[in-house]
């Protein structure tokens, strides 16, 4: 019965009463751009009520559930003053606020009940006691006697107040006082220091950066015992105003380099940034290249090592990776382990990485070029084998290789996206099962599977993630060039690729230094020298201190 009733209703009525939500329609009426008047360098008012009203409005406290505004009366020398504190719940240490802000100010105790003169100094001359007494001032009295906190500042700018409150500070406003007390009472849950996940080493430190900026700076301090380590704070973003720490060693890092880093960070017109990945793209020299121009690392010891070379480290609050600048191509092919092991082993690894770099970038393209134009390079027996294995494959070599390359990239991407326990399964299914099935179905030749597998494996030996990405993309370019022009195409591409690299700079340092331009003085180049022979810092960085160690570092031998 109900069904028929509904049917009759549907037939007789239009269906335009259905709920529909379309974002963006009538935007100007329902979603007008808010006036920004509240955020224009407003100073703290004398009147507490006005301040209270302003704070309510600025922090949207009526709808913001975690913004706490606590009004109370302060007892000072028997008199009472109206006041309020402002903080964000979950970002402050409430015990600290209760015990060391509210208690001393509200409850009666010796300090706030004391009505005598405030003695600055006293001396006895000719049996006469001479005292210097300070004229009573409520602000000084509160600051000196009633706020037992180690970090209290006077702030009269609401922009600064807002920034500090969202960072976890507590603000104290008092009636008739035209500034607020900025009390550091931060405490929030954070991830504890853990081992590096993506840059493991055997013989080095096992500490990695975390998301909290202050924890990261403290780790740098702990690992680098030098009073010349400067950690400057800047904020990036107009809406977000996230903290960024610029770290460098004052007597080593080039002053122009430090100034340039700060200049770029201070001149970012962005609302917000989410990670150092975004930041690195915004401060790089050349926008047209996909080559990384700043190093990123999660290792504390690695950062310390670069600081000691004269580079600048930028820590972004909320990201467990730090940026290191300037960086050259050789830095992206170096591992933190290189300096920990004997230089012979380190150099062997470095050679392997260079070979891997070339294979990752060029092998598929070279294969296409050789099979298409330069068969004579292949030994005759192998050539027969390749020709035989390709005889049943219906595709041209370019289609075959692109098919496999794209499949490999899809498997790799899928392996990253699926939950960790399934990742290896995707890899096995993708690589082994699909690969074998593709060969048996004569879609691709077995030799091609070997080429793709070698290329894939070598790409994992590139230490830097961003460089790995870059190589993955450019591999396709070389495949096309190899197909179009054989070795001529590949050489043409490689020449332009190298030329582009030669033209790049990272914060003023040539990207291919010390090989292009050739800097002969005080450089070890790509390879690691024995520990006792690493006498100089990289001269491409033009550090203030050139020498790292004396001419005879092992003085005990002399």
């Amino acid at each position: 019965m109900n069904f028929f009733r509904k049917l009759i209703y549907d037939l007789t009525n239009d269906k335009n009463d259905e709920y529909q939500f379309i974002l963006g329609e009538n935007n100007s009426k329902t979603n007008p751009e808010l006036p920004n008047e509240l955020q224009k360098n407003q100073k703290v008012y004398d009147s507490l009520d006005v301040n209270l009203e302003y704070v309510h409005s600025r922090f949207n406290s009526l709808i913001n559930s975690d913004v706490v505004i606590r009004e109370f009366l302060i007892n000072v020398k028997g008199k009472q003053f109206k006041a309020f504190i402002l903080y964000i719940d979950g970002m402050v240490n409430t015990d600290s606020i209760n015990n060391f802000v509210l208690k001393p100010l509200m409850l009666k105790n010796y300090s706030n009940q004391f009505d005598g003169p405030q003695v600055v100094s006293e001396a006895v001359a000719s049996n006469i006691l001479v005292r210097r007494i300070k004229k009573f001032n409520i602000v000084d009295y509160i600051l000196d006697n009633l706020l037992p906190q180690n970090d209290v500042e006077k702030v009269n700018d609401f922009d600064k107040i807002a920034q500090d409150v969202v960072s976890g500070n507590c603000m104290l406003f008092i009636d008739t006082v035209n500034f607020a007390f900025d009390i550091d009472a931060k405490k929030f849950d954070k991830r504890s220091i853990a081992e590096p996940k993506n840059e493991p080493v055997i013989m080095g430190s096992q500490e990695a950066f975390v998301e909290n900026l202050r924890t990261n700076t403290s780790m740098l301090r702990r690992n680098l015992c030098n009073e010349n380590l400067i950690i400057e704070s800047l904020s990036v973003g107009k809406s977000d105003k996230n903290q960024v720490a610029v770290c460098y060693i004052k007597d080593i890092a080039n002053s122009d380099l430090v100034a340039e880093v700060k200049y770029r960070l201070n001149n970012l017109d962005v609302d917000y940034l989410i990670s150092v990945g975004e930041l690195s793209q915004l401060i790089k020299d050349d926008m047209d290249t996909s080559l990384p121009e700043t190093l990123s690392t999660e290792r504390v010891d690695n950062s310390v090592s670069y600081l000691l070379q004269g580079r600048v480290v930028v820590i972004y609050n909320g990201c467990p990776y730090v940026l290191i600048m300037p960086a050259t191509i050789l830095d992206f092919l170096s591992s933190p382990e290189d300096v920990n092991v004997n230089h012979v082993f380190a150099n062997l690894f470095k050679v392997i990485r260079i070979i891997s770099f070339c294979i990752t970038l060029l092998l598929p393209g070279m294969y296409v070029a050789i099979v298409t134009y330069h068969e004579e390079v292949i030994p005759t027996e192998l050539l027969f084998s390749i020709v035989a294995s390709r005889s049943n494959v219906p595709f041209m070599v370019i289609v075959e290789i692109l098919l496999m390359e794209v499949s490999f990239e899809v498997i790799r991407e899928a392996g990253l996206r699926v939950p960790t326990p399934l990742g290896s399964t995707v890899g096995i299914v993708g690589a082994l099962v699909l690969g074998q099935a593709a060969v048996e179905a004569d879609i691709v030749s077995p030799i091609l599977i070997i080429i793709i597998a070698i290329t894939g494996i070598t790409s994992f030996s590139i230490p830097d993630y961003n460089l790995g990405f870059h190589l993955r993309i450019h591999r396709f370019v070389f495949i096309l060039l190899g197909f179009l022009g054989g070795f001529l195409g590949i050489v043409a591409g490689l020449f332009m690729y190298l030329l582009n690299m030669c033209s790049l700079r990272s914060f003023g340092v040539p990207y291919m230094a010390p090989y292009a331009p050739l800097i002969l003085k005080n450089n070890s180049g790509y390879f690691v020298k024995p520990t006792w022979k690493r006498e100089f810092r990289n001269s491409a960085l033009d550090p203030k201190k050139k020498r790292v160690q004396g001419k005879t570092s092992m003085k005990w031998r002399t």
């Binding site: 134009y373 004579e376 390079v377 030994p379 050489v491 020449f495 030329l499 291919m512 331009p517 050739l518």
Partner: protein
Amino acid sequence: MEEEKLNFIEASFLVLTILISHIIMDLPNMIIKSQNSSAVLNVIYITILVLIYFFIINKLFEPFDSKNILSISEFVGGKTLKVILGIIYSLYLICISAVILRGFCETLKIIYFPKAGLWIILGIFLVLAMLANKFGERNIIKINTILMPVILLSVFVIFIALLRNFEISRVFPLLGNGVKSTFVDGALNMCSFSGFIILFFVRPNLKNVKDYKKVGIVSILLSASYLVLSVASSLLLFPFLTANAEVLSVYLSACTIRFGKFMPRTDALFMFIWIFTFISYLSIIVSYIVKFSKESISPKSPSIATYISAIAIFIVALLPQNSTQVHFFQNVVYKYLSITIVFILSFVILLIGYIKKKKLNKTREIQ
């Protein structure tokens, strides 16, 4: 700004690129053809001549500090002479590079791209040279510095790999066609060092002008070694080489290399390196032509000079109708043009400039 200047290795490699590209072209073939068994001796002889010539040039350059030949020509004959010389040098580089490029592209066409039009292969090289010049001369020199050790190594590898195939008796009789042929007529083979022209222009680009002597000696000796090894490889390997062989003699040498059963043919790998050399060479030549035009006629946009010079090389490279004409250009025109412009004209200008400068200094001293 300091980084824009070249240190002595970069400058030496710059000169070497030009010298070696001319050698790869087909100079060993030309020298063997004219000298027969005394080809190696002749190369050593012309190397000594070129070194002596360089020492004289170095002496003549001394009063001019860091000036190049164009600036000196302005000192000698005013702006007009500078413009004329700028045009002569530009035309010379256009002609020589076009001939060299044509020879190399013909080889590439025969070996790898028989179906492709020659103009396509030529075009690829020239487009690359134009694009490279967009990155600036300094970056071309940087990449050249990286590539040069590999290029130098390639000829040593060829020589060493072919050692067991060499027939030492082919160097006999030592004097080949006779003393006159080896040491008098053979002196004209100095044209093998026509890349020497860069030494007349590199002085202002040096970080330290005192390195000029070092640059000259190193580049001449290295290119001489390259030439000796190339000539020796061809001479000791083949009973004869015909001037009309359609592919490069160094390529023919590379073709005979066998590294066991696994690498029966390695010539493609050497070709890989030589393509690099030629792109680098052409980029440098175009950048120098742009430089000459900048200094002598000051064009409004250097890019236009780049395009014009590349197109000019392209047109001149297409002028020869067949490989016989290409060989004629390589063996005759190249030889006499190089001797006239690089070794005579430049020397005369420099000598006049030197005398004028000395006279001027004397007059000043008297006053």
